[in-house]
């Protein structure tokens, strides 16, 4: 029993070590080619500007909310899309021999969640500056977008790894990803609507809990399934 605990601890610390170095590696590679990173933010900015010029002024709260999440899912799909395609075949092979698939997928999910959270923060800032900011409970809104980002990035990362094996992976990951993003999107939409309206915790706590549980379930599923995609 005691030995078992020690082994688990060793495994966990090894996993954490792997995760840390993978995320640092990812960041270094990203930083090396700054065009890739800045292109995501310019993508977001141009989408937002299209929205801004098309609607000019959003009176209606549900529309504001829907437009917000619409921009986020497109930006997220575009941002996560590069998460595997930027890898060369040789680097994938090297990763395969060095790290466990679990560590690899978790590091990708963490990295992409941070990226999507940053994108949604950028989106909030843009909306505040150019349209208006009706959000009454900012903390809850940011929490909702962060939890949403975790789920989006887990789904999109896995779907992207699937789509990479097809002929046209860019459109394929949208076809495969968007229908299964919907449960996550529905709860996030609901929760951010509550945050905008500034409702009390008794109303939103149930949704917050279910969003967290859904994130967890998606993560576990991605962890279980990714090793099968990795075996090439």
């Amino acid at each position: 029993m005691h030995k078992c605990i020690i082994l688990t601890k060793q495994f966990m610390s090894a996993l954490l070590q792997e995760l840390k170095s993978l995320i640092i590696l990812e960041w270094k590679l990203e930083w090396k080619q700054k065009t890739a990173l800045s292109s995501i933010f310019i993508y977001l900015l141009s989408t937002l500007f299209v929205v801004y010029l098309s609607v000019k002024r959003v009176v209606d709260i549900p529309t504001w909310n829907a437009l917000f999440w619409l921009v986020i899912i497109f930006a997220a799909a575009n941002g996560v899309n590069r998460s595997f395609s930027s890898d060369s075949k040789g680097r994938m092979l090297m990763m395969y021999s060095l790290v466990s698939p679990q560590a690899f997928i978790i590091s990708r999910v963490i990295y992409n969640s941070i990226l999507i959270s940053l994108l949604s923060l950028g989106c909030i800032v843009f909306y505040t500056l150019f349209l208006e900011n009706p959000i009454q409970n900012m903390a809850l809104f940011i929490l909702a977008t962060t939890l949403g980002a975790i789920g989006f990035s887990s789904i999109l990362t896995l779907v992207n790894a699937i789509a990479l094996n097809t002929k046209n992976s860019a459109s394929m990951s949208v076809i495969l990803g968007f229908p299964i993003l919907l449960p996550q999107l529905m709860i996030s939409l609901k929760l951010s609507k509550f945050a905008i309206d500034g409702l009390s915790a008794t109303v939103y706590s149930k949704y917050l809990l279910s969003l967290g549980l859904l994130d967890l379930a998606i993560l576990v599923l991605a962890l279980l399934l990714f090793p099968y995609l990795w075996r090439d």
Partner: protein, 222 residues
């Protein structure tokens, strides 16, 4: 399942559901009136669609665990038949909606759930066709099938709870309990579900055998 008895049973049950569904007494409810008979076709077809999609899901899991191509075949062909039943369900449902609600399509959780189900499974078929490497195809599509089925179930559970619905049998609970199934309706409803499911499974088997023959034909074995 071997033998011919269950195929005969399937034909008998489906014919009984069609004839009995048209002739037996139904409770007279406001608005629904005689259109309540659609319950015997529309709802039962969707029940067996969900059962076949479940078979497809289990097939994909077993394929990943064992690596035998027969399970992949089951997953694919159950999805084919499931989609066909789903399209029939949408057609019967929207015909019913035209006479009851006055429109072929309204924005309703049940309808949106059905549309998303079809979207996911059509995406699954497109995915299969766009993977060129035949040795990778079963494994990768099995991963997508498992992932998307779980999220689909979550979606179908969540959706009615986040929006209101016009659909009969709604009110927080996505079941058909408020439909007031009385005993004569049950006498047709349950046999119809069993009948359509057995019929669907028969179609799956036929479709699988056809694909095996096609493969042999392409390899010039016949």
């Amino acid at each position: 399942m071997s033998g011919i008895w269950w195929k005969i049973l399937a034909v008998l049950l489906v014919s009984y559901a069609i004839v009995g569904g048209m002739l037996l007494d139904v409770p007279e409810l406001p608005i629904l009136n005689e259109s309540i008979r659609n319950l015997y076709y529309h709802v039962t077809m969707w029940f067996s669609m969900m059962l076949l999609l479940l078979v497809s899901f289990i097939g994909s899991i077993r394929f990943l665990l064992t690596g035998q191509s027969k399970f992949d075949r089951i997953a694919l062909h159950s999805a084919y038949v499931g989609i066909s039943l789903g399209i029939l369900g949408i057609l019967t449902g929207s015909l019913w909606a035209k006479f009851t609600w006055g429109a072929f399509w309204v924005s309703d959780p049940k309808l949106n759930g059905a549309a998303v189900t079809l979207l996911i499974y059509i995406a699954y078929l497109i995915l299969r066709n766009s993977i060129e490497d035949e040795s990778k195809r079963p494994r990768i599509s099995a991963v997508y099938n498992i992932f998307s089925f779980v999220l689909l179930i979550v979606f179908l559970v969540i959706l009615p709870r986040t929006t209101d619905s016009l659909h009969p049998g709604n009110g927080g609970n996505p079941a058909f309990s408020t439909y007031d199934l009385d005993s004569t309706m049950r006498m047709v409803f349950y046999p119809a579900i069993i009948g359509w499911t057995l019929f669907g499974w028969w179609m799956v088997q036929l479709s699988m055998r056809l694909s095996v023959l096609n493969e042999k034909y392409e390899d010039n074995d016949i």
